[in-house]
């Protein structure tokens, strides 16, 4: 009986999993077209790099099905803040102003804050609108499949790793903070009170400190109720869907992050609607970098066409004024003769 249910589940997923490769092929061909344009322009202009459309960030991502992800089961979280403590320890962050055991922090909504640099993840408390019971949301970088922050960074200090995590390189960062403006989740934090080397602070999924050493990210490893699962994203989606199907009364039928903003590698399942916990709801499924891509692809066209267009206007107006001058001189001569 259970096995049948499983089969049914996978069948149910199939339309979705078939749909996404389809979409990606469409994307590739369009991008290939744009890239062709850019290459043409590049042949004509030395600094075409300026306007070259995004180098198929998404295309590469779609080719990384084995990337890691995290799944947070918000129905399990009971607000112990051990993940915050584990994050602090794993990343060698500053000692906290109030101890991680202190529950009074739930009185306000917190975010990752580089002023104090205590942790790259925070847990906030909300109330279940039906029962009034407390529910908790863990906040950290969602490691988007096509991160707006990485596409925004003018020096590529933020990059999507093929393994999944969105990584920050402090050695390149100029401190423009466009990543903060770009991030739809208000995740990156900036060290405003550092004059010498202010940096962006955000979760790296413990990539260099743990994942690359074969360890599970600190928050997932320390969580006492296994609310956080680390694994391949594709596996996590299966796991999440299975949980939802098995417990339709416990979970709402929504995996947040599966398609939001084109997908994030940190996924969530919940017992109450995500907007009740301040998750952005009007997200759409288009990856945010798509919104600037069209503009960037128009850049080489302007660079190529404007000189001819305005050079032409210049020659036209010059020629016209010469003709006009010649005309007046002729009239003058005629006038003198008569």
């Amino acid at each position: 009986m259970e096995k049948k249910l499983d089969v049914k589940t996978t069948n149910k997923c199939k339309p979705r999993s078939i749909l996404s490769p389809d979409l990606s092929t469409v994307k590739i061909s369009r991008r290939g077209f744009l890239k062709g344009n850019a290459a043409l322009a590049g042949a004509l202009l030395l600094w075409d790099a300026l306007g070259e459309p995004a180098k198929g960030l998404a295309r590469e991502i779609n080719g990384w099905p084995d990337r890691y992800g995290m799944l947070t089961d918000l129905t399990r979280c009971f607000g112990c803040r051990i993940c915050e403590k584990a994050c602090n320890k794993a990343n060698d962050l500053e000692p906290p102003a109030t101890p991680f055991e202190d529950k009074s922090v739930f009185e306000e909504k917190r975010r990752v804050n580089a002023h104090t640099n205590e942790t790259y993840t925070v847990v906030n408390r909300y109330a279940d609108p039906k029962t009034g019971e407390p529910v908790y949301r863990k906040v950290q970088c969602n490691h988007c499949a096509e991160p707006a922050c990485a596409s925004a960074c003018p020096v590529s200090a933020l990059k999507k790793s093929p393994d999944g995590p969105v990584l920050y390189n402090e050695n390149l960062c100029i401190g423009c903070r466009y990543c903060m403006t770009a991030c739809p989740f208000y995740v990156p934090a900036f060290e405003y009170f550092d004059a010498g080397s202010p940096a962006i602070r955000k979760c790296s999924m413990c990539y260099t400190r743990r994942i690359s050493k074969g360890e599970v990210p600190a928050c997932a490893s320390e969580c006492p109720v296994e609310a956080i699962t680390f694994g391949k994203r594709s596996e996590l989606i299966k796991l999440a869907r299975e949980k939802i199907v098995r417990n339709p009364d416990k979970y709402i039928d929504h995996i947040y992050g599966e398609n939001e903003f084109g997908g994030t590698d940190w996924l969530y399942i919940s017992g109450i609607a995500f907007e009740e916990m301040d998750f952005p709801s009007d997200t759409g499924t288009t990856p945010l970098p798509e919104f600037t891509r069209e503009f960037l692809s128009a850049v080489p066209l302007v660079l190529v066409m404007w000189p001819a267009l305005f050079g032409g206007v210049y020659l036209f107006s010059k020629n016209r004024s010469r003709t006009a001058e010649a005309g007046t001189e002729n009239t003058k001569k005629e006038g003198n003769q008569s």
């Binding site: 790099a49 300026l50 306007g51 070259e52 995004a54 180098k55 960030l57 975010r111 804050n113 580089a114 002023h115 707006a148 596409s151 925004a152 960074c153 003018p154 020096v155 590529s156 200090a157 960062c173 100029i174 401190g175 423009c176 903070r177 466009y178 903060m180 403006t181 770009a182 739809p184 208000y186 934090a189 900036f190 060290e191 405003y192 009170f193 550092d194 004059a195 202010p198 952005p280 009007d282 759409g284 945010l288 970098p289 919104f291 600037t292 069209e294 503009f295 960037l296 850049v299 302007v302 660079l303 404007w306 000189p307 305005f310 050079g311 206007v313 210049y314 107006s317 016209r320 004024s321």
Partner: protein, 409 residues
Amino acid sequence: MSEYTKQIGAARKGVPEEATQELTMPQYLKKLATPFNIVAGIIVLVGLGLIVVRYTMGLGAVTSASQDQPWGLFLNIGLFSGVPLSASGFVLGTVVFIFGLKHYEPVVKNAVLLGFLGYLFAVIFLLIDLGRPWRLPYPMAVSFGTTSVLFLVAWHVALYLSCQFLEFVPSLFEWAGWKVLRRWTIKLTIGLTIFGIMLSTLHQSALGALFLLAPGKLHPLWYTPYLPVLFLNSAIAGGLCLVIFVTYLTRRFLKEQADAEYLASIDKITLGLGKGVSLVLITYFAVKIIALAHGNHWSLLNTTYGYWYLVEILGFVLLPGILFALGSRSKNVGLVQFTALLTIIGVVINRINVSLIALNWQLPEREFFDLREFLIVIGVITIEVLVYRWIVSHMPILRRHPDYENEHE
């Protein structure tokens, strides 16, 4: 602003440049101590003091240091408002050198200077705002973020600043008396102007495109795929209006630095440009309405943000568009000059709306204004005004240099 400028005029009136050099030091200092200079000096000192605090204690010591709203007044005013107003150089260059409308030539050098200073000070604001300003050249030399609109802005502002500098140097060389260099740079005019059009088209619109990345954060009344077009369009209006308004100020307060040709041309030029801006603003208004219809956001007009949006597009776009048309038709120079100021304010309001007020509109708590930040902004703008006054008082900007009286480019 006009109060200060009034006092500039009072201070300079009837003091020929040569006289300065013959004054002894105490006399010179006494002459400098005009009410305007004293007020300006205090503003600059306060600003510089706060800038020192910023570089020693971090951005957080002089700004509201918001993690949610990272871009404050330095960028809202210094970059997002300063750059469109500095379109003056490229717009007037196009009108005179490309379209060949030679009767606008007397104001071109001033327009180019205003553009050059505007970009120079936009970069100065960037140096204050960037977390690590010494890495300003990184996007050009160290690491290329080719998917970023800001990468494009960085390159274009750098290139265009150089371009504007080359367009400005003939005046500098005339002042310095370097004739050969001047002749060479004059020859570059057409090339530089066209290069300037390319760069300006792209980076003015790119400043709008920066916000395309944040559809969920910018209020739907301001978020539209037309943002790049709207930013370029309003920059053209802003640049033209800056020329109209500063030309008015120079006639009023820096008259002794101008020659008769410049002064006599102002009325005709003002009316002509006014007619032009009228067309630009009406076009801009139309695109704004198309954007509204495209997003189908009519119902949002009846909200607080909607009322503020209507103030912006009716009071600072449609109204000046009509006033410019009326003013240039009835040859009312004063009305056109007033409307230019109205439009300049409108461009600044629009940029502040997009980059501050309508951005992150869904956040529960927000801070728009920080006094320390504001004092730095005012201090830097005052330095810009003083630098402008110094250049106009020394170099042949509002006049032809006697050596090149009869030269027509």
